[in-house]
Symmetry: C3
């Protein structure tokens, strides 16, 4: 197994993962800067720290869902869903930063995206089992459907 | 490397991961519903949030151990241990929900299962190194042992 | 795809992951032991719990960066950087244990190591895309550079 063949199948997922790592570092830096402000632990720090914790709590779940979906079915829609998730997370964090009361739109933001990734994984595993026991190869058909369906995520 | 060959080796792990993602969502929903109750942040919410945090803290560790064990040795016992871990976690969370004082059985629940997965990974890596330098191929023997040993996890 | 070929490419990463799991268990045990002390929730427990939470928050990010770097480029420098990160984390946690005020050197300890791993991943993906579209195969050259550069991490 040449290593480059592996990279070929996952490089979009890797890029999204790298962006998410950068975003995590951005969040952590925001929290740290707020923490070092002279007026001590204000309510802004509390809100920021809470938003960061919510993001961090959901992060492994998101990574697991995205990688499962990307490896089991196909990587492009999974990576696209991951990008959308990162954008939603950014918006959620910035919403927390502001003083508006529209923050905390829910503990688990991005439920729809996680659901979509889960569905992709289930379809991938199901597809694999069907192909194994029945021999039918309709994977390309499913991949086309998924690529089209991922555009639906953009609808707010 | 055909993608379906990869899926063949990991689909049980993927299924367990999907179940764990669903369980995470279930936990988060429980916490959110408790948070939105009219009587504010009660002690029930505190306990629930604490249980959820303990579960989330241990989640990446569990995922890493399960995937390492499954990829390095063989997937069936690793997935079985993962299922048992999820059941233990569910019981732990439900125990926190109840008013009984038998909750918080420990910070790291499921130590034995994590230990078993670690052992599997160590055996897998060791086996690989042995086969690389000595040429002996007793991996099938080890796999049989592991499959039998995973049944021992059911003993409470 | 023979399973042993996969293990060949990742076994160093698996070893580092196993060590990190053991370290997580060590941290959790420290926190649990402090929690069960008769004098209740002291400031030592607060500090320990905070250090543990910081470590746990950064753990998925670290794992994702290390595995991406190891899979995309080459595993030896990534595993080495992972070991250095674990040492830094250990020092951070022990520093929290002591009564000295030199603890909390920052929210995100090990920024340089995470940065190095990110750089490795970016180089790996970039290299793959270049090879795909241009056909040039200078990956061995990049790997040599990376192996040399990983030694620079030892400079404090």
């Amino acid at each position: 197994m040449d290593s480059s063949v592996v990279v070929e199948n996952i490089y979009l997922l890797v890029i999204v993962t790298l962006i998410s790592v950068l975003q995590n570092a951005f969040f952590a830096q925001k929290v740290e800067r707020e923490c070092k402000k002279p007026d001590g632990h204000t309510s802004a720090f509390e809100r920021l720290s809470c938003a960061n914790r919510n993001c961090m709590d959901a992060y492994p779940t998101f990574l697991a869902a995205m990688w499962c979906a990307g490896v089991c079915l196909t990587q492009a829609p999974a990576a696209f869903a991951g990008i959308v998730y990162l954008l939603v997370r950014q918006k959620y964090f910035i919403g927390y930063l502001g003083q508006t009361c529209q923050s905390t739109p829910g503990y688990l933001f991005g439920k729809r995206i996680i659901g979509f990734l889960l569905l992709m994984s289930v379809v991938g595993v199901f597809n694999h089992l069907l192909r194994r026991y029945l021999g039918g190869g309709y994977k390309e058909y499913v991949e086309t459907i998924t690529n089209a369906a991922s555009a639906l995520l953009l609808i707010p």
